[in-house]
Symmetry: C2
Subunit: 312 residues, 2 copies
Amino acid sequence: MSINTQLDYFRQKINQAIKAIPPQDKNPLFYEPINYINTLTGKQIRPLLTIITGLAAGGNIDHLIFPATAVELLHNFTLVHDDIMDNDDLRRGKPTVHVKWDLGTAILAGDGLLGLAYRKLLGTPGIDDLRMAKLFTEAMLEICEGQALDKSFENIGQVTRGDYLMMIRKKTAMLISLSCQLGGITAHTGEPVVQALADFGMNLGLGFQIQDDLLDIYADESKLGKRVGSDLAMHKKTIVNVLLLEKSGFPINIFSISDLKKLLKEKDVIDEIRLMIDDYFSQAKRALSILPANEFTTLLAALTDDIKDREK
Amino acid sequence: MSINTQLDYFRQKINQAIKAIPPQDKNPLFYEPINYINTLTGKQIRPLLTIITGLAAGGNIDHLIFPATAVELLHNFTLVHDDIMDNDDLRRGKPTVHVKWDLGTAILAGDGLLGLAYRKLLGTPGIDDLRMAKLFTEAMLEICEGQALDKSFENIGQVTRGDYLMMIRKKTAMLISLSCQLGGITAHTGEPVVQALADFGMNLGLGFQIQDDLLDIYADESKLGKRVGSDLAMHKKTIVNVLLLEKSGFPINIFSISDLKKLLKEKDVIDEIRLMIDDYFSQAKRALSILPANEFTTLLAALTDDIKDREK
């Protein structure tokens, strides 16, 4: 079976689980926007990681689908609330929830997604202690702290590489690390493997976010599903302007994407960013060496390469 | 010791626990608004109920303070997000979070409060199974559904008594019921007592909300901490306009609080509402009969009377 066939099979499982979530309820005002964002399917990297790390560690897909769904719902919660804060009007190529409905509906949809995420997580078969719920909660708080940092950086001219890395560690990498850890725990694997999976996810998440920052500038808009340059337009700090500041010694106002691209070439910023990405992805793959050699460990490595080579 | 001395002692415990929550963090953008709403101390009915039901059922205050803090944080989460949705500018006599800071900060503060609530709940000593977390999650989802119903009622002329009661059950009474249930579970008491506490809290919560609707019209604004008539101004459905509709057979547009008060007198609406309140409070007290007779059960009955006679 090709990698894509395998991934598609798991994506189908995830979609089925997510579609089954909202109860037959008389309250469409609450569940419609939740369904909307849940079925605007994204890359599903986080639930795929939960499932494949868990299978690699000897777990059962019928159990793994619970935390997998939970991390996707947690991710969707952050998307709906972040889109309000960032005033984004497009998500996955469609109108954001607060644009399609209204502010109050979007706040409530986000809250509901978080509640539904906990419900799924707490329903994981074979898990009856609090460990997963505690990790999930700590990750959720880190994500909020990361989003607060990201927002605060919008009003700061000089953000260092260290500040930036702390922010993306909290805002993005923590959830990807959690997704992998939950796979290992649901598989009842040993502590060294769970830690290796957390480490794998953290490095993968850092590489993923840095790459995302590049895609904000270099991606094809039709593939990206949101506007190119939207991070820069919001005065977000990305690896691009953080490294540009480091190389220049002072903040540079950038008025267009093409000006920026010229400047990045001049200062050799892109090459350095690509080295950082390579490094995080290599570290991620090294962490996997502790896993048993099986078809899912192979698939995990292939998925890691897929993520590295993505265009959106 | 007088009732008030006892309640004040517990309130101090709650305040201490809540003040200790935010870590020494470099991220004031995230924790300042959370502290702000947490220290705008309200009536603290929910954490008091967790502590006193738990003590009445034989629990330990050092354990009970965890779920007590969790329900107060969950309540504060709903306040911060609801105030945005309802466009309220005052809460507990002070500017709401989205007014004092901004929209994004308030959304994030609410999210953070929910995460902190889970952290506290999951840290309850002596509890290592998932029951409390599951009940907490289901209550949180019901609260969101209740808020969605409340919002949807703003655009509906005719809301029946049944619709209204379902809405307040979800939006208000469920959390009060949860607060009491968590007290019983933390005390490791038997199932019949836990169920009686849930039933007590549900009836208390229904009576509490109906009374709150009356206070929106009849309270002294300086005691209420928010504008008199603010529910009506937002086209909220309260017991007052629901019963007025029932008696009149058609919706009545009301232009001032004094006109409304005249109409309520004419139609004998207030007497009927007071009977409903009496009935819910009596049912609540009857549920307590299963509890052991001790000083905390006495205090719980006294607190129930206090809530019934409150002016804000």
